[in-house]
Symmetry: D2
């Protein structure tokens, strides 16, 4: 099965290349009756948009989304929703000197081995631009989940390069370009980024994303466990190299007496599980953490080869991010929303007849 589709019941099929005519997606399976317009989607795209701060790629794409189908008189019809974003700012020439070589850390080499050709236009389909349709679809999922189930999503940066960012105040997240929940550390982050940009180098980042109010019971015992599908979605995001749920790799050194979250009448006593047990949601916060690798397009010269295998050097100019993680937060939120939405529909498909008492403990 070709892999441009995410989800089983809330299915998002993504299309487009960075410098082609347009990018977009088709959402199939959206519930009908949801109030929806471009105004519900555009703000999420704007959060992600390039050019919003000096720390991210200076590319002037308005990323204006257009709804082509699936909405009538302001409400979803239940038929597929096609979302279109035209590409307007395509400075192909930035990549002109790369036509016959492979940029280290980029997908140039692998796309060539897979498809037999090289699309040098800004990364083509490998470009992070293709996260825009994901965010657009995520906006739809977020809206329905919020209205129908009271689920909310939040994401933030918890580490930039070596700088740990303590979680201080969620309200700070939208106030700085880093999505950092901490106003005090922002000047340090900015100085760090400026230094990197001058040096022509890049750094990685750690992003956390949380879903609150998720119903218990989402996810399949195996293989389509909720955390498995979350890992799939997150690891599928450009530049992600690691995914954790709850305590994540911290589990390795924990004891069972410490890790297992006890249940009390007041609720779960902790959340090392990150909201998932046995692959199924507990009703607690879903807590996900991802590792984003440093940008591969840097201005320091790097060794490479050409198609014949002869050695050469590659140096990137033009528009580049010293840290692609800066923009990842809204995308990670969107991905989490898409997975949760999909599993809400899957759960009610199979288990709508299950009749349970009110959860015996809060937040479960």
């Amino acid at each position: 099965m070709p892999g441009s589709t995410l989800g089983e019941l809330f299915r998002v099929t993504n299309f487009g290349e960075s410098h082609g005519p347009a990018i977009g997606c088709v959402i199939d399976g959206c519930t009908p009756g949801l109030a929806l317009s471009e105004a519900d989607i555009q703000p999420e795209l704007d959060r992600r948009r390039p050019g919003t701060s000096r720390h991210v790629t200076q590319r002037n794409e308005a990323d204006a989304v257009e709804i082509l189908s699936g909405v009538y008189e302001g409400r979803t019809t239940g038929t597929p929703i096609a979302l279109l974003i035209r590409n307007t700012d395509q400075r192909s020439k930035d990549y002109g000197n790369l036509l016959d070589t492979f940029r280290p850390g980029h997908a140039d080499y692998t796309y060539w081995r897979k498809f037999g050709h090289r699309d040098p236009r800004g990364g083509g389909r490998s470009s992070a631009r293709l996260t825009a349709p994901t965010v657009a679809a995520g906006a739809v999922a977020k809206k329905w989940l919020k209205e129908r189930h009271g689920v909310s999503f939040a994401g933030w940066m918890s580490q930039l390069g070596e700088i740990a960012i303590p979680f201080v105040d969620e309200a700070e997240i939208p106030n700085n370009p880093f999505f950092a929940p901490n106003a005090a550390v922002v000047p340090q982050l900015e100085a760090y980024m400026d230094a990197l940009r001058k040096a022509g180098d890049s750094c990685g980042a750690r992003i956390e994303v949380r879903a609150r109010g998720v119903p218990a019971g989402l996810g399949e015992p195996l293989y389509d466990r909720l955390d498995a599908d979350i890992a799939y979605a997150m690891m599928g995001l450009n530049a992600v190299k690691g995914v954790e749920i709850g305590a994540g790799f911290g589990c390795v050194t924990q004891r069972g007496s410490e890790h297992g979250d006890e249940l009390t009448p007041e609720g779960f006593a902790s959340n090392h599980a990150g909201g998932v047990l046995g692959g199924i949601s507990t009703g607690q916060d879903l807590v996900v953490s991802i590792a984003i690798k440093p940008t591969s397009s840097i201005r320091t010269p790097r060794r490479s080869v050409d198609r014949a295998g002869a050695p050469t050097t590659v140096e990137t100019h033009g528009r580049h991010d010293p840290c692609v993680g800066i923009r990842a937060t809204p995308i990670a939120e969107a991905l989490l929303a898409l997975v949760v939405m999909d599993h809400v529909l899957r759960q009610r498909a199979q288990n709508a007849d299950v009749s349970l008492p009110v959860p015996p403990i809060p937040g479960g």
Copy 2:
């Protein structure tokens, strides 16, 4: 879509509960003409089997696999291969005192909220026993990949609780119950485990798994990237809470000038990418690392509630692992093999006509 199936073209559908009559799987889409018998599968199951050392659950399951279909005169027919493993040692009474409570860290609570009932028999479908069919299917994939493409798989433990296990000698892996690539550290690991068992507690582990000889070009640009599907498979393994590819979370503090693997005529200069770029295999080793949480069935009393939410205490007796990670290695290998197999078939479905020169550099 119900989620008991892994893979798109080499599809494995898993069935069974820990104490039901039988467990097994159906493999659909296996290539025809592969020489196959139970003797090709049983050794992999034996690697995973309980009771092979004092450090793992003492349960006497022979895990004898039977091929019910899909093989004729010793070769696969291309029709579905059903693999059956009868359950023989089912000491249900070990769980008798847990009928109305929820063991912290286990899936009891979540299964109840999902399906509306509680199957107290040894974890039911949430039991790690259900990894046996996965390993059986993985054996088939491993065989074909080895014979047809020269791909090999290896896994090992890289950390047990706080004890880091340096990679010294791959040949040592089968010589100890930990799958540790290091003979010298084994006594320390054993002492550690004995202490834990006495204390009635448990610890986590870190497992690494590697695929070598993987062709370049496997994986889709998005969403079904090779690393996304690997993360899905690994996070779907019982007790896994984190997945890394290549440098993983180590990326966060790396620089782009350090992380991006340069290409030289002799091959890639490094492998921080872990064998995947842009979601597609480079031809280098696939390198995956997973975090396994400490066992939830421990003998120290833990707080919980009953179905009405009243407080209670839970204490597990009977057969338990102080570290489920001890047995995870062959399962992680199987999962990686299943994902690679699936993507080999997917790649040739779409791109069989692509004609490329020999890879310009070795291992790519």
Copy 3:
């Protein structure tokens, strides 16, 4: 995607070959809480079973089904239900003289071109024996649909060779081996069959199957229309060469003024649509008709070639049906039940929030 699976949410994966160790299926996605035991399935298998009359293949297969998983204390758990049927009567030698030739009308030639080998054992996977797991799975779907939604299924033969069978009395269907809703015609049918058997030839049949009480709203606008999925299931049944919904091919000569079913306060005035409009169920009876070709295993000699293309003659002996359509009725019912079940779950997945007044007209 390998194709041994039917359904998206109530998924049935079929395995086995006619003369292999066993046949069976795995049902994934069954709703939990349904009372289920072998006793709910066996009667449906018995309706289909060979050896129940002189008009069908004399093969002594008890077709005893065993539930291997997915049921606990007499109720479905929501986890996969594996159903197993061991093959006991495998008279392979009946086919011994066919090893290197291709029987006209059989799948011998096509399996060889597809898989590169020939499984001469009673048709292998192409055998109608593989309809047994389908019937077993259909029994589960029928039960749930009946208990939960009041849906009932009925099938009958409407034509045998040239003999039209008028629908006279539904209660007669179980009283004769033809599933004919007409006692008076049975002697004629039996004489017809006896004559065919003596002549060593075979005839076709037309089977009708009806679902009553189906909720309106099942099916997707396109492409997974309810009638499309029904056609897929029916045409996928061995020996079926035609499928009709409602008026079927009779539509060609109808006028729109005659075909379109008018709506009145008492209900739909007719049902030329066969219960499906725009791919979606109306609430009326689903009416499906299928054409079954004459058996290809006949005792009159037929021309064929061997693998090298040299001419030869083929003559079948042993156990054969003069009309495979005799046994098709319970299978067609099962297939219709599986499609309806799947679409009930799909409909509630997406549209569970849709709130409508009671249908404005009866039977809609």
Copy 4:
């Protein structure tokens, strides 16, 4: 799984409503390297286009297709191909008087019961307009199949209402608006249609479609048999109520000695099988026949009810086809091409290693 997608490996996701902003599709899994431009697709859309004769709906839609992605420098990249068709001529007011009633034979009632709302704009998603994206996608499949495998597709009308159309000359098909392979009968067909239009009524039609040069071995034993998938695709076409393969319902009265196609060194002696045996292609022509019901939008008044169930009358004005079958031929060809394309990729995914001698007989 929401059902707007056709195919497993050559996947076409269709979106749009008749009077929404645009319609289109996304093709995922297309092989790379295929020369492709709008000029390869537009002619197929033109064959289907309304307004090309007085016998079809007079709606001025240019149906100009635009390729939004998946093509670079004139060749497919292997990434998803999005095809867009803007709606330009949307005379909504034609349907204004139908807002609260349900047109007999249309999907109005069923869409309301399914989605909980009524989209009165020209049928919305139920409109035959949504066959345009299918035809566009089919053009891509046809091109690759022709270039890579020498497969060709042809379709024609074999019956209009009561008028049988003997197959006389394939070259005549493009010369008349009926796609009739027979020049002599055309005046009779035109007179028949003119009479129907004056009467405000409609008739059905029978369409045949053939694929030639199809490789043997396509299709799965069960359930995804080639003929099953063909039936699914065809029955999923608006207004289709019956599908036949080969002899179809004619099988019912055939004898096995007559129906089974013998094999000779010169090739198969007949093709009652229609090119499919045991669900797998034989290499012979695929022969499919479909029954198209008479148009439901007619000018004779018809009884209906409103949402409260009170009786009312419905009469349609504006643009209508006296026979929607007139335009079905290119759509049926497209659907057949899509199914064949999908199965070619599926076959090579699983069985690319199968090595067979040249087919022992021609056309096999």
